[in-house]
């Protein structure tokens, strides 16, 4: 045995002095506690033949069996169960503004979304102007970017629930050019707008033009005032929720990733414009202002 071992053994044994311990008296105290607790335990022990755990387990199993039988045999109960299940369906959405945003779960039947549908069109600016009710010019080239296409969109200003979107989306799709279908959606405050996409190499930019009354400035983490020609605009750093896709659509029942993006927005002649690029593109504020100035200069 090493010296350290001897030393440790000595130290630990020296430290404990049990000579002042009255073992008999201590046991008497313990005995009182044990006897007292035994009496209490005896009271409960008298019920132990019932075996509460088993009773509770059997009861729960019986209830579950009854529910299963009811659901499988009764269409009414099945429908109620389905309703109940639908009632608890939730989606993930981003809430908050500026730097204070968070992903929260919402019931899927809560009115929360404004939707839009659109497609590329070969119509000219003039033809589009007649459909949307205001004039927007998309020049063929814009500071080295080439116009790829124009698009016409229809949107609903009234908020919808996630569950109701698929049904109304079909109607809205028809309403893009069909005035009759458009009128049918009057209860949802429909409106139309246009967009143009430009491309230079791998870079793409999109310029949207909305009627001012159907526009809401985005929630910006950081907004910087800029001047486009002689018009005041804002360079906005914001976020968007990137949902995984399911059957070509955003699957909102899955928690999305939060991505940063930037956009430029301004208003001129009651038209609200936004200029943005694809998320993650190298797209500076200076580039955006330069493109917006050229675009604005081309407007009637």
């Amino acid at each position: 045995m090493e010296e350290l071992d001897v030393l440790l053994k000595d130290i630990l044994e020296e430290d404990v002095n049990t000579s002042d311990r009255d073992i008999n008296n201590n046991f008497l105290k313990l005995k009182k506690i044990l006897v007292k607790s035994n009496k209490k335990r005896d009271f409960w022990f008298s019920f132990s033949c019932i075996d509460f755990k088993r009773v509770v387990t059997i009861a729960v199993c019986s209830i579950l069996c009854a529910i299963t039988i009811l659901i499988s045999s009764s269409s009414t109960v099945r429908a109620s169960a389905l309703n109940a299940l639908n009632g608890i369906k939730t989606i993930f959405v981003v809430e908050g503004s500026g730097n204070d945003v968070k992903i929260v779960q919402k019931p899927a039947d809560e009115d929360y979304f404004t939707i839009s549908e659109g497609y590329n069109t070969a119509k000219s600016d003039a033809e589009l102007g007649e459909i949307i009710g205001y004039k927007v010019m998309y020049p063929e080239t814009l500071a080295g970017f080439d116009l790829e296409c124009r698009a016409l969109h229809a949107a609903l200003w009234k908020k919808l629930s996630y569950d109701s979107i698929p049904k109304i989306r079909q109607q809205l799709n028809k309403a893009i050019v069909n005035q009759q279908e458009f009128s049918k959606l009057a209860g949802y405050s429909p409106f139309r707008f246009v967009s143009g996409s430009y491309k230079k190499g791998n870079k793409s930019i999109y310029i949207y033009a909305f009627p001012e009354q159907f526009s809401t400035p985005p929630d910006c983490k950081k907004a910087e005032e800029i001047i486009i020609g002689d018009i005041k605009g804002f360079w906005c750093e914001t976020i968007f929720a990137d949902y995984p896709e399911k059957a070509g659509e955003a699957n909102m029942s899955v928690k999305p990733d939060i991505e940063d993006t930037s956009l430029l927005y301004w208003v001129n002649n009651n038209v609200y414009y936004t200029l943005t690029s694809l998320a993650g593109d190298d797209f500076s504020k200076e580039d955006a202002v330069r493109l917006a100035s050229k675009f604005q200069a081309a407007q009637p």
Partner: protein
Amino acid sequence: MQLNDIVNHCRMGDLECFEELYKLYYNKAYGTAYIISGQKNIAEDIVQEAFIICYRSIKHIKNPQTFNTWFYRIVVRASWRITKKQKNSYVESFSANLDCGDPVKSNEYNPFDLITGKLLIRQKIQTLKLPLKTVLILYYYNDMSVKEISKVLDCFEGTVKSRLFKARKILKKELSSYYEDVGKSLDLMEGEA
């Protein structure tokens, strides 16, 4: 009566046999609890709680030969739980022994060095983490083997060995540096003289 018989009787609820068991194990249980917790009154509580648990659960022991490790597991767990609440381990033990001059057991050391060396080790044991300290106590104070400690602590024998090695290394280092310092200061004193 053999321990196995005592345990068997206790399993049947025999309080007299339990008293015998209590008297057999009290001192070591109290010592273990005291060194872990560092306070007499807490150690007393720990021992009481451990024996209450023991009395209530002893009927579940299948093999009476495993009583020793089973009982110390209860003591160690109760000690850890209560000591963590108190967060004041070993203070009393250290201060209580400050003035305790111990008879010198080896001629290799100056008595003064030995005593202060022990105090130093006591201080260092105080700062050891609970798992290291517990292994040290079970090994040196309770004379348990590595295998038995692994059963008490419900861990691998390798873990016990490693904890024991770590604890000894820390204490050895402390003691060596202390003796080095003492040597230096003695040299200086001689030089000055």
